[in-house]
């Protein structure tokens, strides 16, 4: 096929390898922020990409693929929170309190301390606020994409974002000077 013909064809779907490389950390961040448990978050990553593999053929290019993929990840994470609520284990709360991802982007003591403060502050938010903030302000989805991922209106997203940002601003004031 000539280069000219290729340039006129619809953009090919990204490969699964590309999607995994591009979005595994983002789905993990979202799932961890929702669940507060690295092992459950890893399960969510795996389940998300199993669903991506099964349904990539049905993705018709409506909207950015990031929104489509995060929607699957978000649903998996919410399903995991429901499952945990319905089938709690004795040490769930212990894990939730003690568990932190062992592999942080931070390597200095000060960086680790800041990462811990950020973890604690975002963990204090309600699930809906935490999910909206993670998708919009950490993962960089647009407000419209967050609304689509979460099945809520854009005005509801804005309200959740405003509450989340304000709560975090108050808790993290010493780092915002």
């Amino acid at each position: 096929m000539s280069t000219a013909a290729t340039s006129q064809a619809p953009a090919p779907l990204p490969t699964l390898e590309h999607l995994f490389t591009e979005f595994a950390n983002g789905v993990y961040t979202l799932a961890y922020r929702i669940l507060g448990d690295r092992y459950l978050a890893e399960d969510v990553v795996q389940e998300t990409f199993i669903k991506v593999i099964r349904s990539l053929d049905t993705y018709r290019g409506e909207g950015p693929i990031a929104g489509w993929l995060y929607r699957i990840g978000y649903r998996e994470a919410i399903a995991a929170t429901r499952k945990r609520r319905e089938q709690p284990t004795e040490d769930d709360e212990l894990v939730r309190r003690a568990d932190r991802p062992i592999e942080s982007v931070e390597s200095t003591v000060m960086g680790m301390e800041l990462a811990r403060k950020l973890d604690e502050a975002i963990a204090s938010l309600s699930d809906p606020l935490r999910a909206a903030f993670t998708l919009r302000d950490i993962e960089g989805l647009t407000t419209a994409e967050v609304a689509a991922v979460s099945d809520i209106s854009e005005s509801a997203v804005k309200m959740r974002l405003a509450r989340a940002r304000e709560a975090l601003r108050i808790q993290l004031k010493e780092y915002l000077a």
Binding site: Y28, V45, V105, E106, L168, R169
Partner: protein, 79 residues
């Protein structure tokens, strides 16, 4: 036409999204130019997102990444 602190507060999500109308954006900018308190608040709210983008993103542990990729049958080039 400028706006009050309360009016800006009500429009903060749109302001931070950059989705205000041209007139609203100008009024907000005018208010921020004269109101130190609002300027600090907006700066801090924007700083929250920056903090998390810089220090709060998580990385899937390498061993887990490899295990999941293998389970999915993906070749991601991770040795």
């Amino acid at each position: 036409m400028t706006m009050t602190c309360d009016e800006l507060d009500a429009l903060l999500p749109e302001f931070m999204d950059g989705s205000l109308t041209e007139g609203q954006q100008a009024a907000a900018a005018e208010h921020l130019a004269t109101c130190n308190q609002c300027r600090i608040e907006v700066s801090e709210l924007e700083g929250v997102g920056e903090l998390y983008r810089t220090h709060g993103r998580l990385q899937l542990p390498e061993e887990s990444r490899r295990r999941i990729a293998e389970a999915l049958g993906l070749d991601t080039g991770v040795a």
